[in-house]
């Protein structure tokens, strides 16, 4: 009886591990797909289907510094969007605080300038 129980718990453990790995893989896939789409809109990275269908040489021929493109895309998503929302809220106040607005706007201008001027993205 004890052996049967052990075998059952082992199989459940394996199933849970498999399901966990599967869910983790799906999450990673969704994140990569989303980041790639946003990066493609910003003209920084290829889309996920492009990465999936084509090889390294094809991507290198059409995009330059893809890694930095992903870095800039992640910075935009994690830094640029919250900064933009904060600046919108600040400038929408009845009496905007000038120093805070200037700091936020400076950070955003630097990010946008990096996206626009860096040698990254579609050739």
């Amino acid at each position: 009886m004890a052996g049967d129980l052990d075998r059952h718990s082992d199989s459940y453990g394996c199933l849970a591990l498999f399901a966990g790995v599967l869910v983790l893989g799906l999450v990673i896939l969704a994140v990569v797909w989303f980041v790639s789409t946003v990066g493609h809109v910003l003209e920084l990275t290829p889309t996920y289907p492009e990465i999936d269908k084509h090889g390294h040489a094809w991507i290198d021929a059409r995009y330059e510094n893809v890694t930095w493109g992903y870095v800039l895309t992640v910075l935009t998503l994690l830094g640029g969007v919250p900064l933009s929302i904060a600046l919108t809220a600040e400038l929408g106040r009845p009496r905007p605080r000038a120093r805070r607005a200037v700091v936020l706007a400076t950070a955003l201008v630097v990010l946008v300038a990096a996206i626009a001027l860096a040698p990254v993205g579609a050739r």
Partner: protein
Amino acid sequence: MRSLPRRTVAVGRRVIGSAGARTYVPLVVELVGLAVAAVALVALIALPLVSQAAIALLAVPTGAGVWNWARRWSPPRSQWRVHADARRRCIDLLDAIDRAPHRHARRARHDLYGVFVERVGPSVSVALVRRRPGPRRGRVERTSVAEERCFAGDEVEAAAGWLTQLEERAAAAEQHERDRLAAERDAAERARLRARRAAEDARLRTIEATHESELAQREAALRQEDERAREREAQLEAEALARALRRS
């Protein structure tokens, strides 16, 4: 000829410092800024269509700011009057204190007093205003009305009497504040001198004590040396006596 530039500078300073210039120039600058911001917004919105989507990160907050700013000026003509009146009132309130006849220093470390005269509908309000000490920014917010009385348009004598009374009170209140500060400064100076004198006395006492202990040590050393010399002499005398006894 030599005094011409000085006179020109004085006239220029008077023009720049006038209430009208201080009221309308910032409003005109603000409106020009609004126009520039609106043009910048249009340019920012046009740019992503031809180049970058990331411009949207800047275009959205800029749009919010311009919208907020434009709302402040809508409808333009009546808002212009409202803003100009509000600004003029702030400047008059500041001038009531900064340009009071009894003014000594504008940036004093004590409460400042002045008399503020304002038209309120058909009557006139004459108020004693007070400003707490602080930085240049926020002067208007720190200014408060201490005492106020309203007069009808035909009560000229009563209004003039009250105005004179308030001006005297404002001058007296400031003089009192200055005296209080001077007394506090004197007390602080006296305390500082007392502390310095006490520290000097303590230092002298320490030097004296050190000197005394050094003298005592030196005396003890001399006494010990005398003792040793006496012992040596006694020993020599004893040895000489012993030698003499041996010879005899």
